[in-house]
């Protein structure tokens, strides 16, 4: 079996949302001598990127996207373990703390962003909805997060994003975490005004912005 066939099989396993198959392809590809980062980049990531595009076109839906991201995690775990076994540094998934801000219970968009981020290899701590500034910060400290993501759908609750940034500043933690805002009412202008590091227009854009913030 040639490398190209492994890449295709890897992408297909993600698109089929098949966790066992994804892990199996990863193991067989590694056994055939393909480097872990090669099978990830040329196979699995191609598959998950295609799923993201299909989601935005209304051709696959949230349950499939969540299952695909689970399959992606299974494949990534196999590759990561292989790197460690070979004496390399096992890739540690960077932690992101994400939630819908206090006073706001709209969590559909946030859930989609979580699925996209997990599919892209991030260790996402989903705090859910109606999350206070204190909870955001406490969780970020606990898990040594790299990024804090704050979602707000409403013009009346987006000010809570500002409160979280102010709380970070008060506690001397502002520079410690990269911050990103998103949700129906947020814009790049708003992110600039309140001093957030980035604004995510939608789930795909949020992944791109977080990748850029973390130099991926």
């Amino acid at each position: 079996m040639g490398n190209e066939e492994f890449y295709k099989e890897a992408g297909d396993a993600i698109k089929a949302c098949d966790k066992e198959k994804a892990a199996d392809v990863a193991k067989r590809a590694l056994a055939a001598g393909i480097a872990p980062d090669e099978i990830l980049k040329k196979g699995f990531i191609v598959g998950i990127t295609e799923m993201g595009d299909l989601f935005e076109r209304g051709q696959v839906f949230l349950p499939e996207l969540v299952l695909a991201s689970d399959a992606m995690s299974a494949a990534a775990a196999v590759c990561s373990a292989a790197v460690a076994e070979a004496g390399g540094d096992e890739e540690v998934e960077e932690a992101i703390v994400l939630g819908t801000v206090q006073g706001d219970v709209h969590d559909i968009g946030k859930t989609i962003v979580v699925a996209f981020l997990r599919a892209n290899g991030y260790n996402v701590h989903d705090l859910g909805r109606d999350v206070s500034a204190d909870k955001f910060i406490a969780k970020a400290e606990e898990v040594d997060a790299k990024v804090i993501g704050m979602s707000a759908l409403l013009t009346t609750t987006m000010r809570e994003q500002k409160r979280i940034l102010e709380a970070l500043e008060k506690q001397g933690l502002k520079g410690k975490y990269k911050t990103i805002v998103g949700g129906g009412a947020s814009t790049q202008n708003w992110a600039d005004q309140i001093g957030a590091d980035a604004y995510g227009e939608d789930a795909n854009d949020s992944v791109k912005k977080i990748n850029a913030l973390l130099g991926r």
């Binding site: 839906f61 949230l62 559909i108 814009t187």
Partner: protein, 353 residues
């Protein structure tokens, strides 16, 4: 080359050359055509949009004779509340505000709704709202509707009895999530039918289902089934307004008359809304804040033009904060609002706004 003053989708001011403006319009239309698998705007339509966006005036209007009805959703909260839609917080009642919309702003239809504007919280207040609508029916001339959002999210934890799919999906409990969505949809439908029939009893002219499908495909299903029931059993006129340009597949497999609802774009949404028996359809196209207003308007017009082409019922497009080509800004700039409105009438050929 002279520059044209215009805006981005977040409302910020920018300047474009005529060539750049045209490129934005073409690209916006092509994006809609690609996403919705529908025709892009033709050269004449592109020219018209260039003309609309090149107009030197801050506020523009349609050609004489092309005026369309203005219908109002989201009730009269704009005037009464300080919290909703940049509310003016005037010290007047909701009923007074409705009359202002008729006699001062010259709207052609209006609705009353409970301040929370969702059917679930409106249900226990329905007797109060019945009295208000009944009074307004005798003091206004325009069609008087009752309006609310299905807002099916209110039926999930922490606000409702059913487990939130947003909690179940990450645990890979797909079947449980889907079951809870349909449980919520059934209860949402029961509440909507109950509330709407109370307004039929007092002779309301109609119901506006606003921001439908905000919780995804099951939310849309609940609305369609409610409309179907109301058309069978009442004389209510029915308007269905959307929440987004495509139906979010939270469930993914819900069907209406054999058609999968998830992933439907506006022209496909129209068909099931017509099948359910609605009298007016209000499509929504979302604004991208990092694209120019011209790009967003061209994109929205492309989607809505296809809706109008296929429609057998009147189309009253949503043109407001963050939809229909209007920038996502709490007080939408009037220059952008009038350009989007004119484009919808002159190019997409909508029946109303």
């Amino acid at each position: 080359m002279s520059k044209i003053w215009t805006r981005m989708g977040d409302g910020s001011a920018i300047e474009l050359t005529p060539d750049e403006l045209r490129q934005e319009i073409v690209a916006g239309s092509e994006d809609a055509a690609d996403k919705g698998q529908i025709p892009a705007l033709d050269e004449n339509e592109i020219d018209k949009l260039v003309e609309i966006f090149s107009a030197p005036w801050r506020v523009i209007g349609v050609e004489p004779g092309h005026e369309v009805p203005l219908t109002k959703d989201e009730t009269a909260c704009t005037l009464v509340s300080s919290q909703l839609s940049s509310g003016a917080h005037l010290q007047i009642s909701r009923e007074d505000a409705v009359e202002v919309f008729e006699r001062v702003f010259a709207f052609d239809t209006m609705e009353l709704g409970w301040i929370d504007y969702s059917f679930k919280p409106a249900k226990p207040m329905v007797s109060l709202d019945q009295v208000a609508v009944e009074r307004l029916l005798s003091t206004t001339i325009f069609p008087m509707l009752y309006g609310a959002m299905p807002n099916m999210g209110l039926y999930y934890t922490p606000d409702g009895p059913f487990t939130n799919p947003a909690d179940l999906l990450p645990l890979m409990k797909m079947d449980e999530a889907r079951a809870e969505e349909m449980n919520a949809a059934e209860l949402c439908m029961e509440d909507m039918i109950y509330v709407c029939k109370r307004f039929d009893e007092i002779g309301a002219d109609g119901i506006d289902f606003d921001t439908t499908a905000s919780a995804g495909d099951a939310d849309f299903w609940a609305t369609l089934k409610t409309v179907e029931e109301l058309k069978k059993t009442t004389d209510l006129g029915i308007e269905v307004g959307m929440s987004g340009e495509f139906i979010l597949g939270m469930h993914g497999e819900v069907e209406y008359n054999g058609k999968r609802l998830a992933g439907m774009f506006p022209h496909q949404q129209l068909k099931v809304v017509e099948e359910a028996g609605a009298d007016i359809f209000g499509p929504v196209c979302n604004t991208k804040t990092n694209k120019a207003a011209a790009w967003n308007t061209a994109r929205a017009v492309t989607f809505v033009k296809e809706v109008c082409k296929q429609a057998t019922i009147p189309i009253h497009v949503n043109v407001g904060m963050g939809v229909g080509g209007v920038p996502m800004f709490e007080t939408p700039p009037i220059d952008a609002v009038t350009r989007a409105s004119v484009a919808m009438v002159e190019v997409a050929k909508v029946d109303g706004l």
